[in-house]
Point group: C2
């Protein structure tokens, strides 16, 4: 593999001086830990053609490339070393006017999710993905990582929003598959290979995103439950009762909800409730939605399935409910907080979480242990504190979380955060050797020189677990 500085002149000839950002400036750029940037050079192409020329050069010279979107990933995917060239999509920010009749938005990879959402909303439509880092995360990064968020069970992951995609393959080939239709069975779908490949199969440059009718009104409830088996019953009853218009079902276990609720002077439901769920439906008529929500919740109060429920009576109350759910600051106050993102069938969740809490306590003592998640997506976030000698305990903590998942049919050790650098050693816990082998076969087919994000996901050395 070649040194990126050895091709700096040729890169400048392609991009001009404003297309290059030198290492010292680059190292100042903020990103979530465990990101670290040791690269001596970032390039920021202003067009797909420029990016194509950059990658063709890297392919020719065997220069390793690390791709940067908004750098808000949680798995260290944008980490670079001194031998890497960083390629950023930050100047690919063109956005075409929304096609209101066709309900599509064409956006460059560098457009932020928030900007894309705003463009859709200005046209009276909805871009139906949303997650916390919306202001920094990009369309390209969201597609490359198949990001999810709060409304996935109703509208799908980023994959389901992508009607068209343009990407540059490792050798500089421009793959343009800019469909604008929901149905497109003209051969196997090359877009699907790139979505969620974390930049290992190609660099996304542009997309046509599907927009939906805007659902301007919401009804939001906070519901307390005493037993976990009542939680899926609540989900089932709400999904049926709200006619599939439920958009959020955010479950919080006491360990998370109790401290998170301290953000409010008066928590809406008892902080000591074993389970609290934030439920939200969206449509065109808040009164109708709330009346239905109330009907379902009254039934469940009557049958004892739920112990308390409050429906937001104002935007202020709704914001308060969400402030609890979004109070992820409590996680980062944990000493040596370690955070996980897994998914497993709801039927297996009670046993898995009880066993995990027990094994964490056995290993690390009475540390704070927090659970919450997008339960309708079977997506569970897990956080706990670790003793101070983090280096020696982190791997042990990971084993406690991931090992049992390999015995739960259909579970995944990464629900929405991806694999990146951080989770590579554990991929084999819920992927078979054949699945990993096929990922590598595809990598070899699409990036034969192995220049794109060479350390991530399918790296040959570690993905079989340890």
């Amino acid at each position: 593999m070649a040194d990126p500085m050895a091709i700096a002149d040729r890169l400048q000839a392609i991009l001009g001086p404003s297309g290059l950002v030198p290492g010292p400036e680059l190292a100042q750029r903020p990103a979530f830990p465990p990101y670290s940037c040791g690269s001596p050079l970032l390039v920021r192409p202003a067009s797909t053609a420029e990016l194509s020329a950059v990658l063709a050069l890297c392919h020719e010279t065997r220069t390793p490339v690390v791709v940067h979107g908004g750098r808000t990933g949680l798995v260290g995917g944008c980490t670079s070393g001194p031998g890497d060239l960083v390629v950023s999509t930050e100047r690919l920010t063109a956005m075409a006017p929304v096609d209101v009749t066709g309900r599509t938005l064409e956006a460059g990879a560098g457009v932020t999710i928030a900007a894309a959402q705003a463009a859709a909303e200005d046209a009276g439509l909805l871009l139906a993905v949303d997650w916390g880092a919306r202001g920094t995360a990009t369309v390209g990064g969201g597609i490359a990582t198949n990001a999810g968020g709060n409304q996935v069970f109703r509208y799908g992951m980023m994959r389901e929003q992508v009607l068209g995609l343009e990407a540059v393959l490792a050798d500089g080939t421009i793959l343009s598959s800019m469909g604008r239709v929901i149905k497109n069975n003209a051969g196997p779908d090359p877009r699907q290979i790139l979505i969620g490949s974390e930049g290992c199969f190609g660099v996304i440059t542009r997309a046509v995103l599907r927009l939906r009718p805007r659902m301007p009104q919401r009804s939001t409830a906070l519901v307390a439950l005493q037993r976990f088996d009542c939680v899926p019953r609540l989900l089932d009853r709400l999904e049926s009762g709200m006619d599939g218009r439920l958009t959020s079902f955010e479950a919080m276990w006491r360990g998370f909800h109790a401290p998170a609720a301290r953000i409010l002077a008066r928590p809406p439901v008892d902080p000591q409730s074993p389970f609290v769920v934030l439920c939200e439906a969206s449509g065109s008529d808040e009164a109708e939605l709330s009346a239905r929500m109330e009907g379902v919740l009254a039934d469940l109060l009557g049958s004892g399935d739920i112990s308390d429920a409050v429906i937001a009576g104002s935007e202020r109350e709704r914001a308060d409910f969400w402030a609890i759910r979004d109070n992820v600051g409590v996680l980062f106050q944990l000493p040596n907080a370690t955070l996980f993102d897994v998914s497993l069938p709801i039927a297996a969740m009670a046993d898995y979480t009880a066993d995990l809490e027990q094994s964490v306590r056995a290993a690390f003592g009475e540390v704070p242990f927090m659970l919450f998640g997008h339960l309708a997506d079977q997506n569970l976030h897990i956080a706990f504190a670790l003793p101070d000698d983090l280096a020696s305990t982190h791997h042990r903590a990971e084993a406690l979380v991931y090992d049992p998942l390999s015995r739960i049919p259909g579970a995944s050790m990464s629900a929405e955060h991806g694999i990146g650098l951080l989770k590579r050693p554990w991929l084999g816990r819920t992927r078979t050797p054949e699945e990993i082998a096929i990922m590598r076969r595809l990598k070899a087919a699409l990036d034969p020189a192995g220049i794109l994000n060479p350390g991530l996901v399918v790296a040959q050395d570690v993905a079989d677990g340890s």
Copy 2:
């Protein structure tokens, strides 16, 4: 490539006598034209392991394989010649009990769509795909072709229903990716490559399908419109007004609706209406749905956007409305009927259809010309009659339909029917050379000996158009 009869003994050793069906019996099996079966031998493995052994043998001996599901495809994908071994999934019919809490159904590739739908319904849930051939088409075939149908804009194609997938690759490798969760970003998703690959990348053996809450009540309307530009306005108003609970939006142009409506003694709306749309919403309360539907339609009658509308007042009336839409018999009564399935942005549809009708008339005279489609999916079905010398006119007809699509950004020459054998020459009309090249690169990576459905989709010889 080897002759399948040369390995008949070894196949029988793997499968036993009941696993083999000889050519003469095989030739009697019904399937849609242009299917033809020249194969001397069909094998029907009873398990994934048997199928794996069969494919490993075919890979070793370079025996071409044609895969059979329900043989209801419309593009000749199950056509075989004397040198092909046919592999059928018809004995892979195991179905696990529905996981009601997890809302999943595990089914073998040979289970019919109707049987899978019935299993879901028995559990109080919905398998949210449906199309005409449901009684014969299979789960495996539906996934292999990424089938669509009537409810795609609400629930997605077959791709969106697949949570888990098991397949056998060309060399006999069993790829088991039997997830049971909506969110699974543990590396690039190998399932996505197989879905919609028409059996060219692997043979699907089993799947975990996502189920949804059942929406037991429906409101159904038949709406007449005078101008095409009012059709997307109707769609937009209904989607918003029904809170995203619209499940069907089936547009019929006069050329189709007028003859199709003759199936009823008294058509609900004027058969001479230029455009008629069957609109259906589903939820839990028919009265509420119908009241909303009526509100939207009354508004649009007032503004002159629609000229007539009837809401079904009984199951009988609803069935009548659907009988018109499903009266595809009128297509097959056309002399030398030729049928197309394309998709394009709605904004381009009025010009495209007007130009097409004109060019068809110019080429073939005053032949019947029919248009209808799943308009919310941008999916248009086109049918017209051809003069008697079919051989010389069919290619010309295809050119009239497909050539203009290459000039409409984002269009697709196959919306839901796939490519198969029949549409191979036209793939390049809406796929770029780079897209086709990447399909072939993937084919080479997954089936290096090229034994699986060797004549279909990505066959080297013809996909660049003619």
